[in-house]
């Protein structure tokens, strides 16, 4: 897997939104110069606080919104600015699973109808075999007995079962790439594990690539092969999951880890304020500088570039070398 071509290639992605700031029209950049790759069969976990730009990246990748700058290539096709027909075609390759399994289903349609829709739309099966395909999909996501499930309405299912329907629907087109935006955060604790395991199984069985969006580092570590930490729309750090948890280098990653329940780090948090990041276009310096205990004038002045510290471990901080030594000492 290591040397295979990337399935998803994102380069210098920028998403801008118009806002009014003190009655002046301007822009925010919740996604700012983001680059990464995902290989077939790989799960990239995207973590970061609320408003850091995770969902916006997910929507750009699915082309639910159009990027302002940069490029997105999926399966050797540049999909950054594709329209209509090509977009419909692209939906066979890439699908999304949302946080709220209820909101994403139509309350007056049966489960069968939910699954039949994408099959017909994309002409994935003859009308004779549609029914078989529906059964197959339901069985694949563990919604058995399928004959019973098919005729139910969303409100007759539990949250976990609804999320399985949403996954089955996404799988109908036989995609290669799934964006799962907080797929378990609204579910009961006892059934979250089942969904995570299902997604793990699908990754293995179909060599699916995932962008797994979450604010929970523990589940990111569990499901993700790699973790990418986002702050103020920029990537702060990315590496193999276990490496990131064992050896966090970026001050924000360290803060996030220290704050996560179950972490070994106790006591005061390593931060100097809790100001949210400035997303306004034209900001200068490191987005984390306001909260960073190591910030200097250089940090407030110049954006640190994401650079490779060790093979596969990238960090965007002016003082990575010094902080890495701290890590060894502490």
């Amino acid at each position: 897997m290591a040397d295979s071509e990337a399935l998803v290639k994102v380069e210098n992605l920028v998403v801008r939104f118009p806002i009014t700031d003190n009655s002046r029209r301007t822009f925010i950049r919740p996604v700012d110069q983001v680059s990464f790759e995902i290989r077939a069969g790989e799960v990239l976990a995207l973590v970061g606080e609320s408003g850091s730009g995770k969902s916006t990246i997910g929507k750009a990748l699915l082309r639910i919104l159009e990027p302002s700058e940069g490029s997105i290539v999926v399966g050797n096709k540049d999909i950054t600015h594709i329209r209509r027909r090509e977009l419909v075609e692209y939906r066979k390759l890439a699908q999304m699973i949302f946080q709220d399994p209820f909101g994403s289903l139509n309350p007056v349609k049966t489960i069968e109808q939910h699954l039949a829709f994408p099959i017909r739309k994309h002409r994935l099966a003859s009308s004779d075999s549609t029914s078989n395909l529906i059964n197959e999909l339901l069985a694949r996501v563990g919604l058995t007995p399928v004959e019973e499930t098919r005729l139910k309405f969303p409100h007759e299912l539990s949250g976990g079962q609804r999320q399985r329907v949403a996954i089955a629907r996404a799988l109908a087109v036989n995609p290669k790439f799934l964006v799962a935006d907080e797929p378990i955060s609204m579910l009961d604790v006892s059934i979250r594990a089942g969904i995570l395991r299902l997604m793990t199984q699908l990754r293995e069985d179909f060599n699916l690539a995932f962008l797994y969006i979450t604010h929970d580092l523990a589940s990111a570590r569990y499901f993700g092969n790699r973790i990418m930490v986002l702050y103020g729309g920029r990537i702060m750090e990315t590496s193999a999951s276990s490496e990131l948890i064992r050896k966090p280098l970026h001050p924000y990653t360290r803060l996030l880890l220290a704050a996560t329940p179950g972490s070994a780090m106790k006591g005061a948090l390593p931060e100097t304020s809790n100001k949210p990041p400035n997303l306004l276009e034209g900001r200068t310096g490191c987005p984390f500088a306001d909260r960073c205990p190591h910030a200097t004038d250089l940090c407030r002045d110049q954006v640190p570039e994401l650079t490779e510290f060790e093979a596969g471990h990238l960090v965007a901080c002016h003082y990575t070398n010094q902080l890495a030594e701290d890590n060894i000492r502490s």
Binding site: V189, S190, I191, L196, A218, L269, N274
Partner: protein, 328 residues
Amino acid sequence: MDEKTPVLEIKDLSVSYQTPSGFVEAVRGVNLTLYPEEIIGLVGESGSGKSTMAFAVMRLLKGEATVTGGLIKVLGKDVYSLNKKELRLFRWDQMAMVFQSAMSALNPVMTVEKQIFDTILSHRPQMSRQEVRTRAEELMDMVRIDRKHLKSFPHELSGGMRQRIVIAIAIALHPKMVIMDEPTTALDVVVQRSILNQIKEIQKTEKFSILFISHDFSLVAEMATRVAIMYAGRIVEMTDSQTLKLGERHHPYTDGLLRAIPQLTSEDVVIEGISGNPPDLKLLPSGCAFHPRCALAMERCKTEMPIPHPQPIGYIECHLYSEEGSRG
């Protein structure tokens, strides 16, 4: 009152909701004792009855909900024997609650200052404005929000700041007990951690007891000394936070939850969900309510409701721990 008087004593509490399809029992015979300066964690999945129990203690249940049995004593007083006026004074003064959603707990058209002032003055009308202001500033310092935000409206504050204000108001009158119902669930982990650190700090100086409600095991283990686990309206296990890990003696449900949660630091363990779904209270399973989901269920579990079996610490309500059970 002597040291040993519990701050909160719940005995055989049952609460039902009236619904179009009949009564549903959301809390079914719960017992719990909270001692001075103690923090008890109450964990359970959504719908297990945690908030209902908290509202019952505060006597804040709405129309369709009624206490159908049992007794609730706060500082030795039966909460349901108080008349309206006594209750109004008792609440906030002796017992306070931090609600699940901070925004709805605050009045959107009133400044923070006004809301703190109103709470204090309604209980301490004799206090001078200067004294009230001093207390308000003290509270802002305690929850670490700049005093200038006393002049702010709720919508001008972040979610984390609003939740801190709610906590400040809850402790304004030095209550002996504070119920915190998922006080940080909607917040980012960093904000959550800093608020929890503050709660612990304030609790040490102000010395109140906390009933800390959450669905997050690791969080509860960090906050509380004793932990109650709720399933389908019953506290099925009482344990302490040290024991709240795999490999210890637990209720099968507790065990299941512990197996279901990805751990931040443990290497490559496979997590496992609990089969089935949380029960529908209208169609509560007979016997042990957990039996349809329990891998260890025996014949008697289907018909016979288990009783609490005392453990070195706390108890476990499961037939496996009875004399004839395999773990007894």
